[in-house]
Amino acid sequence: MRASITSSAIIHAVVLGWGLLSFSAPSPMDMANSESMPVEIISDVSQLQQGDKTAAKNDKPAPKPSEKPQTVPDAQNIGESDTDTDTKPVPETKPKPVEAAEAPKPSEMPVEKPEPQPDPKPEVQPEPTPVPATEVKPKPEPQQEVKPDPVAEAINETRTATIPTEAPKAEPAPVAEKPAEEQMKLPEKVAMPQAKPTPPAQTAKTPERKEPTEKPKKTQTASTPSKDKGIADEVAALLNNQKPAGGGAKRSTDRASLGSQKPSTGEKLSQSEMDALKGAIQKCWNVPAGAEDADGLLVTVKMRLTRSGEIEGTPEVSGSGSSPVQRAAVESARRAVLRCAPYSLPQEKYDTWADVTVNFDPRDMF
């Protein structure tokens, strides 16, 4: 018996020793760094309200009040920046000495609001009197043709980004980010005074007048005739005074309310509005014979709409079922959706129906 106990103890020691070596701690899981959302207000993702994460819940969704007036009309992201970027605002490290030449003249910075169109967001600024927008509008084409140097190009790009074309929401951000990068490495390229484009014409109209990168050129044009005070000014002009870019351009004056930083107003189409949209589509839809008694056929129409109610791109129509009749029904739904455009939906809720999904059950239509 003693021999058995000894051998058993040895076996256990061996097994435990192996366990100690092989059962090491599991490697810790890395969590993706995603924005956390205040849970109280999520009933539907599309209803996530734009606001401030630390603020109390309010009736009216609004982020922290911003200090500057709104300059970019279609901005989605909250921030004090002049361009609408998706990146988080970069904290200012140290205040740079502001030179006199760079101080923006107050008369030159009208907050431009090209179209007096109703803005869907409730937290939009008290609209400044719209500067004659017609003057601004026609400009883009000639300037885009010129493309004299990276700066002008960058400005053009920011400009096209900020002019309220009917571009999808997400687009302005990536475009607007590019100039920020380009401007970072600008100084070497701009150093040649002969690279002067026709900045005065541009500066007269662009909303980005405030941007310090543009100022240098103005001082250049001013200083080239008189060489004596040129160097200091030129050096000053070449210095990159642009703050690290980041943050959006949407301003808000309302009291901060609980919400996410992502842009949304939290409104949704009412049932009657949804029904109106459905009805409009149904009117044009000739459901092929036989589809109505196809069991469980459900057609889902996903489409992107412009502000005027036109369909942007191709609508995504999908249906359950694979029988020929059902496929025919899905095809007919696609035609119907295209035929019925434009749809008239409440302008102030554009955010909610910019991407709209409508479900149809053909059996309900007869």
Partner: protein
């Protein structure tokens, strides 16, 4: 958040770490179960070897017994050696036979009964020896999981008290405690499963060996009975 990360880093999830962080009761349970596991395997090893030996000894004895060798000679060969199993039964019966004849037995029925009794006693002793300690296997097999579960319950209670203390329900706070508590159940199962399996196998093996001995005892009893009839003339 960083505190939690540090806590997670600090808690060692290796086998030794889990054991070392456990509370006193859980530790005792784990140590006890480890001892039970060692004991289980000691019994298993011992019985396996012992049964193998016994089976070989039975084979050898039966071979010799049926080889036509005279019983007297066989008894003389075995008498001075320590015998197990069938040999022990044979020796016990022969001893009783010899004693009775030396004293001059009167009744063949009385002699037969005495020899049977002696063989019964030897048989009981041998089968006791075969199935010795099998009951502790059965006990460990049935109680091991419960003991482990007890350790787990205590450990989980402790970690819930820890939640109450740290006012945090984060999984990172609770997980090490629950893991170490579950280790107790794991050890209990590790000890109990082989015990149950071995108990079933060994007890059936012991039953087979005992049945073999009983068969031999009956056979030998019949042979001796015949011998008594031959040697003692009818009164």
């Amino acid at each position: 958040m960083e505190d939690l990360a540090v806590a997670v880093q600090a808690s060692d999830v290796s086998l030794w770490g889990l054991f070392w962080q456990a509370g006193l009761i859980v530790k005792l349970v784990m140590i006890g179960l480890l001892g039970a596991s060692i004991w289980t395997w000691a019994i298993i090893i011992d019985k396996m070897l012992g049964f193998g030996r016994a089976k070989r000894a039975f084979d050898r004895f039966e071979q010799v017994f049926w080889s036509g060798q005279s019983l007297e000679e066989l008894y003389r060969n075995l008498g001075d050696k320590r015998t197990v199993g069938m040999g022990a039964i044979f020796v016990a019966a022969m001893r009783e036979w010899k004693k009775s004849f030396e004293k001059g037995a009167r009744s063949p029925i009385g002699l037969q009964m005495r020899i049977d009794k002696a063989m019964d006693v030897a048989l009981a002793r041998e089968s006791d020896y075969l199935s010795a300690r099998l009951t502790s296997l059965a006990t460990i097999g049935s109680a091991g999981p419960f003991i482990g579960l007890f350790g787990t319950v205590i450990g989980i209670m402790t970690s819930f008290m820890g939640i109450a203390g740290s006012k945090s329900t984060s999984l990172a706070v609770v997980a090490p405690g629950i893991a170490e508590a579950l280790l107790a159940t794991a050890i209990g199962l590790v000890a109990a499963i082989p015990a149950v399996i071995a108990y079933n196998k060994l007890s059936s093996d012991a039953g087979k060996l005992t049945a073999r001995m009983e068969g031999f005892a009956d056979e030998f009893s019949a042979i001796l009975s015949r011998q008594i009839d031959e040697k003692l003339p009818r009164a």
